[in-house]
């Protein structure tokens, strides 16, 4: 019986919380709230919530967030400016970068 209650509870939270940026664990709710508070570009949302700043550098979430901005503000996702992507494009260890000699 206890097990059943737990499962239902878990199911309910799972339904409510959709994680959009998985690297930084930012939820759909948090993003929509930020947009409504006036953070209406991908760059501003990134700076408020760290979306796209984790391991994958936004490859997983930026398009979804752009879509959410379109839904909330009407500004088409296709016309939104993506935040500046800064090298290295793929996370590299300090050791490896330290040994790099310009080749």
């Amino acid at each position: 019986m206890g097990g059943k209650t737990r499962r239902t509870a878990r199911k309910r939270t799972a339904k409510k919380v959709t994680v959009v940026c998985r690297c930084e664990e930012v939820t759909e709710d948090e993003i929509r709230r930020a947009i409504r508070e006036g953070h209406q570009t991908l760059e501003q949302i990134k700076r408020k919530l760290r979306t796209g700043m984790g391991h994958c550098q936004g490859r997983g979430c930026l398009r979804i967030i752009a879509q959410m901005v379109e839904e909330e503000t009407g500004f088409p996702a296709s016309e939104q400016k993506l935040p500046t992507s800064r090298p290295p494009l793929k996370p590299l260890p300090l050791d490896l970068l330290a040994r790099y000699d310009g080749e």
Binding site: Q44, Q57, L92, A98
Partner: protein, 378 residues
Amino acid sequence: MASRTADTVIVGGGIIGAATGYYLAKSGHKVVLLERSFPCSGATGRCIGGIRAQFTHDLSIRVMIESIRLFSELNDELGETVHWHQGGYLFLAFDEPRKQAFLEAIKVQRNYGLDVEFISSAECGQIVPGLNREGLLGGAYCPTDGQADPFHVTYGYLAGIKRLGGEVRVDTEVTGINTRDSKVVSVLTSKGDEFFCPNVLNAAGAWSDEICRMAGIEVPIAPDRHESLVTEAVERLFDPMLVDYRSDGCYFVQHIGTGHFVGCYTPVPLVPGRNMDATDEFITEMPRRMVRLVPKLGQVKVLRQWAGSYCMTPDGSPICGRTPVEGLYISSGMSGHGFMFGPALGKLMAELIACGKPSIPLDQFAPDREFGKAEAMK
């Protein structure tokens, strides 16, 4: 063209504009803050969040002791979690002259009641496990220094301005300042608005010389480029900001809220100008310097790099106070320390603007001072 009124118009939505605007609004001023792009788009959003009272200039020490008091109350003041953490600052001495300079500075700092001391190389190793102590003579350590999140602090202040009845306008560039008889009359914006106001605060950071020129005055600031990087989040390794002043040194800290390491160095020679391009040189040189200091960081991965402007003055201390144009104030030239100075200079400048007298006199930061001896703990 719409015309409006305000008690004080603030130019710039970085930490300086936001904090000063907040304390002004709190004292009853009608504040309008104008930001060309978005909040934190200037230096504030590019800084690494370090906060310390270890300076050599008397006034910097006093202002920073006040700022640290304000940071420690900021969560309650703003109703926002600002990730203030008192992890300390550890300045490393690898040669005798540096050690002597730190000992001199510590004497002055202790006069103001700061809990700072010179600790041995072995003690440095206890505070920073894994520190490479080769050639290390010890370090100046102040455990009450710390860190906070620049975005949360700035957004918290801006939200406070709005809560207190002020206005924050983004995407709004200040394009002109009208004066009459050397007195501020109004501020013009790119949106075609004109704000009539007795006071204007120039908090435009590395662009504050342009704002001054709109009112016909010059200010001796010189922007230069500083680069920075951030690593992936890892388990907590050590608490303090590490500062290595050698010409090939660097400084970095682990952010307590997230576990990321962030750090920078001051390039020799400096790179003047407002160029904000990130370079290949930095992304290889900075890891070298970090790994030399703490070899076990070698496996930690770098996520991202960026650059921003330091806004330097001839003596490395801020420029804050009245200008020759009545009603035009400036708080700029933060020389790489504007985030940490933000809360206290915000409160003090608000006192100057609202009642003519700050509770800590800012004369030594006045725009018309003689620029003399430079701050040694830059």
